[in-house]
Symmetry: C3
Subunit: 409 residues, 3 copies
C-alpha cells in the first residue's frame, strides 16, 4: 500500500511537470507574436522563422547534448558530464520541461536583433546558445552541485538562469549588429512603431499564461506540500505581472501624458521576469512590490538604452529580460520571507544574489560576445542595406507575410 | 495511510483548480480578440488597454479586498467580512480561480461601450466593479451563507453571478454612453462591421476552450466522484456551445439568406453562457436544448436591442451575457434532472431561479447605474466627437495599432 | 483502502484525458489559423465558418451516433452497435476526447478544398464524415475488436485513423472540386501565396501544442507506468516535429536557395503527423528519424501533387495528413522498438501496417468519393466563377473579414 501511494505522488509530479512544460512551450508563440507585433510587417516571416528555429533546433540540440551538459553529474561544479541523445525513460518529463526553458532563453535574443540580422548567423548563434551558453550557466544553479547552488544562490525559476542570460546575449547582439537604418538620425532616436498591437497584446497574454507553468512548474512537484507552494507561486506570479502592468501604465501616463500600450505590455512582462527568481520565496505583498519596481525599472531602462546609450532594441528585450531579470534576482535578497533583508536576514542573501547576477551576467556577456564577434568577422551579422530597407522577408525568405494588403512602409 | 490518501485527493483538487484557473485566465485574451475583431481598427489599442486593465487592476483589487468581501464570513447573508491583502497559504488556488472569474465579469462591459468611452472613466468603473459590485452579489450565491444560497438558488458556474452581472452593467453602460457616431441615422440602424473576423473567431475558440475550465473548474474538486461530474460538465458545456452555434448559423441562414459569421460565433458564446448555470445539473440532452434556446435567443435579442431599442452594443455583449445568462439561469428550473420542471420538480426551482435572476439583475443595474451616472456627471463617459471619429487609439493612447497598413475608414 | 487508491488512479486518468482533450480541442483553432493564413483574405470568413461547423456539427453528430458507431460493441469487427444520444456518466471524458479527434479528421478536408467550395455542400460532407466515414474505420483500429486490431495493426494516436482518413478525403475533394481559377495556366502551376504568415505560424504553434494532448492523451491513462509512457510520448512528439521542421527548412534552403516559411511550418506538421502512429512505440532517436523522413517527404509530396499531378491543395493537407500519415504508420513497422524491422522484428509488423494503411486508405477514398460525387451531381461542389473571383466571404456569407484595410487582390 505504501508503495502505491508513493506511486501516486510520482504520477502527480510527472503530470504537473508535463502540463507546466506544455504551458512553457506555448510561450514560444507568445514571443513570436510580441516580437512580430512590435516590429514592421516586412520582417514577420523572418521573425517567425527565427522563433521556430529556436524551438526546433533547441529541442534537438538540448536532447542531443544540452540537457546532460546542464544536468549531468557535475564536473568541478562548473559543467555536467555530457552524454549524447538523452534517453532515460523515467526522466523524459524533466527533459521536456528543461527543453522548453532552453528554447525560451534562445528566443529572447531574437527580439533585440530583429529586422536587420542575417538568418544564417542567427541560426548558428541559436544552436550555440542552446547547446553551450545556456546549459553551462544553468548547471551552476539548477543541477544541485553547481558553484552558485553551493553559495546559496536563489533563482527559483530563472530570472537570471533564463531571462538575464537571454537578455545579456541580446545586449551583445544589439550592440554588435548595430541600430536599424533610420533609428538614430542627427543624434535623435526615432520611434519605429510595431505593425500589429493586437499581436503584441495576444503575445503578452500568452506569455503571462505560460509563465504560470514556467514558475509553478519549477517547483518540479505538486504532491503533498508542493501543491500549496505551486498555488502560492501562481498568485505571486499573477500579482507581480499585474503590478508591473499597472505601474508602467501609470508611469507612462504621467511621463508622456497618455497611457502607452507597448510600455504597459512590457510592464507586465517586466513584472513576470522580476518575480521569476523569487516566486516561491516571497509573500504576495512582496510579489506586488517586486512587480511595481520591475514596472518602474523597465520604463526607465528602455528609455535609457534607447535614448542615452542609443542601443536599438526593437522590443525592449534587454530591459525586460536582462535588467528586470537581474533586478528580480537581487530583490530575492530583500523580500525573501526566509533570509531577505526586510525579514531580518541581513545582507548575506543579497550578497549571494549579487554574486550570481554578476557571475552569470559575465558568462553570458563574454560567451555571446566571443561567438557573435567571430560570426561578425566571418559570416557577418547583418543583411545589406537594400535587404534591410526592402525587408528581410523578401530577401532572406523570398516571401511576404501579408501579400493581400497595401503596405505603407 | 488514511491521511496520505486524503492528502492525494487534496492535491488533485488543488491541481485541478489551478489548471482550470489558467484556462479561465486565457479567456481574457479571448475577450480581447472578440472585442477588437468585432470593432474598428482605429480602436484596437484602446480595447487592448481596457482588457489588460480589467485583468491587472482586477487581480490587484480582488486580492486587496474583493475576495474577502465575496468569500469572507457572511455579514447578514449579504456581504463577506473584508480583510486586506488576502494571504492564506492553503487557499491561494481558490484566490486565483476566483480572481480570473472576477476579471471576466469586468471585461464583459468593455465590449458594449467600445469605441467611444473615455479610458480614465473605464478604469475607475473596472476598479469598482471588481472590488464591490461583483464580489457582493457573488457572495449571495457562492459563499455558502448568502441569501440566495439559502433560498436554493442554483448558479453553478455563474450564468448570473458572472455573465448577467457583466451583461447588465454593459446595458447600463451602453445606454449612458450612447450610440457611436453614425450608428443610427434617420431612425435606421447602420451596421458597423468589425475589422478582423479571424481575431473574432480565434477569440471565440479561446473562450470556448477557457469555458471548460470555467465550468468544470467550478466543481472546485476533481477527486472521487467529482471526476465524473467534471467530465459531465465538459460534455454539457461543449454540446451547448455546439448547439448554440449551429442554431444561430441556421437561423441567420433562414432569416438573412446567408449563414452569418458574427451571429454564429455569438451563438456559440450564447450557448456557453446559457449552460454555465446548469452545466452540472442537466443531462447532455438538456444541455443541447439549452444551447438551441440560447442560440435562438441571442439572434433575436441582438436584433431587438439594436434595431428596436436602438442601444448600440458593438459586440452583442448585453444579449450574449445578460440575456442568455438570465435565460440559462431560468432554464435550470426547467432542465435540472433533480428539481427541474421537466423532471417533475414543479415550479419551485424555477421560481427560485427567477428570484435570483431578478435580484442580482437589479443589483447590477442599480449599482452600475449609480457609478456610471456619477462618472458621467463628473469625469464624463465619452470622448469628444473628434476623438471618436479619428479613433481612440490616436487620442487616448497616442498610437496606431496597424501603422504599416493602408486603412480605409 | 485498496479501493481508495484505485479511485485515485481512476481520477488521475480521467483528469489526464480531459486535459488532453482540451488541448486537442485547441487544435481546431490551429487548423483555422493555418488554413486562413495560407489562403487569401477574401475567403477567411468561409474558412472560419467551415472549421466552426466541423467542431459544432461534429460535436453534436458524434454524441448523437458517431461515438457508439465507433466504440459500441463490435458487429463483425466492422462497426460498433449504435445507440443514440450517448450518456454514460462514467465515460463522458472518453466521449469528449474522441469527439475532438473526430472534429480534427473532418477539418483536414477543409484546407484542401479551400477558396472554391460551396458552404452548403461542405456542411453536408462534414456531417457524413463525422457520423459515418471516420467512426467506422476508427472502429477497426481503436474499439478493441476491430479487424485491424485483431491483425496487430498499430496506430497509437491516429496517423492513419485520423490524419490519413482526413488526407485521403481531402485528396478526393481537391480532385472533384478542381483547381482554383488561375492556379494552373498554360500548363504551369502558379503560386497563390497565403494572406497572413503570422496566422499560419500561430496556427502551427497551436497545433504542435495541441498534439501533446493528441498523442500523450491517447495513452488514455496517466496512472502508474502510464505516466512514463506519456512523458516519453511528449518527447517523441516534440523531437519528430522539430526534426520535421529543420529538415523541411534545410531542404527548401538547398532546393530554392532560401529557407521557405510555409514549407518549414508544414515540415513541423509533417513530423507531427508522422510520429502520431508510433509515438508510444519508438525511441527518441527513432522519432527524430521519422521526423526527418516526414520533413523530406512533405516537401517532395507537395511539389509532386502541385506541379506534376496538378491537384490544387492550397494548404498542403493531402501531403501533410494523407501522405505523411501513411508514411508514419508504415514506419512503425521499421522503428518500433518492439517488433520493428530495425529491431529484428522482421517484415511482419511492416506488412500489417501496410494492410492497415491500404485498407483504411481505400475506405476513405471510396466513401468520400461516393459522397462527394453524389454531392457534385446534385447540389454541386463549387461556387460560381464570379463568386470565387470576388471571394466566398462576400457571396457565401455576405461579409468581409477585413473591411478596414485596402486589399490588393
Amino acid at each position: 500500500m505504501e508503495t502505491n501511494v508513493i506511486e501516486v505522488n510520482a504520477v502527480l509530479d510527472i503530470m504537473w511537470i508535463m502540463i507546466a512544460g506544455i504551458l512553457v512551450f506555448f510561450m514560444q508563440s507568445g514571443f513570436t507574436l510580441v516580437e512580430s507585433g512590435f516590429t514592421r510587417s516586412k520582417n514577420v516571416i523572418n521573425i517567425v522563422m527565427k522563433n521556430f528555429v529556436d524551438l526546433a533546433v533547441g529541442s534537438l540540440a538540448f536532447w542531443f547534448i544540452g540537457y546532460t551538459l546542464m544536468y549531468g553529474e557535475s564536473i568541478g561544479s562548473f559543467i555536467g558530464t555530457p552524454s549524447l541523445f538523452y534517453n532515460v525513460r523515467e526522466d523524459m518529463h524533466n527533459l521536456f520541461f528543461q527543453t522548453v526553458f532552453c528554447a525560451t532563453a534562445a528566443t529572447i535574443v531574437s527580439g533585440a536583433v530583429a529586422e536587420r540580422t542575417k538568418f544564417t548567423t542567427y541560426v548558428i548563434f541559436s544552436l550555440i546558445m542552446t547547446t553551450l551558453i545556456y546549459p553551462i550557466s544553468g548547471h551552476w544553479v539548477w543541477q544541485g552541485d553547481g558553484w552558485l547552488t553551493k553559495l546559496g544562490f536563489i533563482d527559483f525559476a530563472g530570472s537570471t538562469v533564463v531571462h538575464s542570460v537571454g537578455g545579456w546575449a541580446a545586449l551583445v547582439g544589439a550592440i554588435l549588429v548595430g541600430p536599424r537604418i533610420g533609428k538614430y538620425t542627427e543624434g535623435k532616436s526615432n520611434a519605429i512603431p510595431g505593425h500589429n498591437m493586437m499581436f503584441g497584446a495576444l503575445g503578452v497574454f500568452i506569455l503571462w499564461l505560460g509563465w504560470f507553468g514556467f514558475n509553478a512548474g519549477s517547483e518540479l512537484a505538486i504532491s503533498g506540500e508542493s501543491s500549496f507552494n505551486a498555488a502560492g507561486i501562481i498568485i505571486t506570479t499573477n500579482l507581480a505581472a499585474a503590478a508591473g502592468a499597472v505601474t508602467a501604465l501609470a508611469l507612462t501616463w504621467i511621463r508622456y501624458g497618455k497611457p502607452e500600450v507597448s510600455m504597459t505590455l512590457n510592464g507586465a512582462l517586466a513584472g513576470l521576469v522580476g518575480i521569476t527568481a523569487g516566486c516561491a520565496a516571497v509573500s504576495p505583498g512582496g510579489a506586488a512590490i517586486i512587480g511595481v519596481l520591475s514596472g518602474l525599472t523597465v520604463v526607465f531602462s528602455i528609455e535609457f538604452i534607447d535614448k542615452t546609450l542609443k542601443i536599438d532594441d526593437p522590443v525592449g528585450a534587454i530591459s525586460v529580460h536582462g535588467v528586470c531579470g537581474a533586478l528580480g534576482t537581487l530583490l530575492v535578497g530583500v523580500f525573501a520571507t526566509d533570509g531577505g533583508l526586510l525579514y531580518g536576514g541581513g545582507f548575506g542573501q543579497l550578497g549571494v544574489q549579487a554574486i550570481g547576477v554578476v557571475g552569470i551576467g559575465a558568462w553570458a556577456l563574454i560567451t555571446s560576445f566571443i561567438v557573435l564577434f567571430i560570426l561578425k568577422k566571418t559570416l557577418g551579422l547583418r543583411v545589406t542595406k537594400e535587404e534591410e530597407i526592402e525587408g528581410l522577408d523578401m530577401h532572406e525568405h523570398d516571401g511576404a507575410a501579408y501579400p493581400d494588403f497595401t503596405i505603407d512602409r
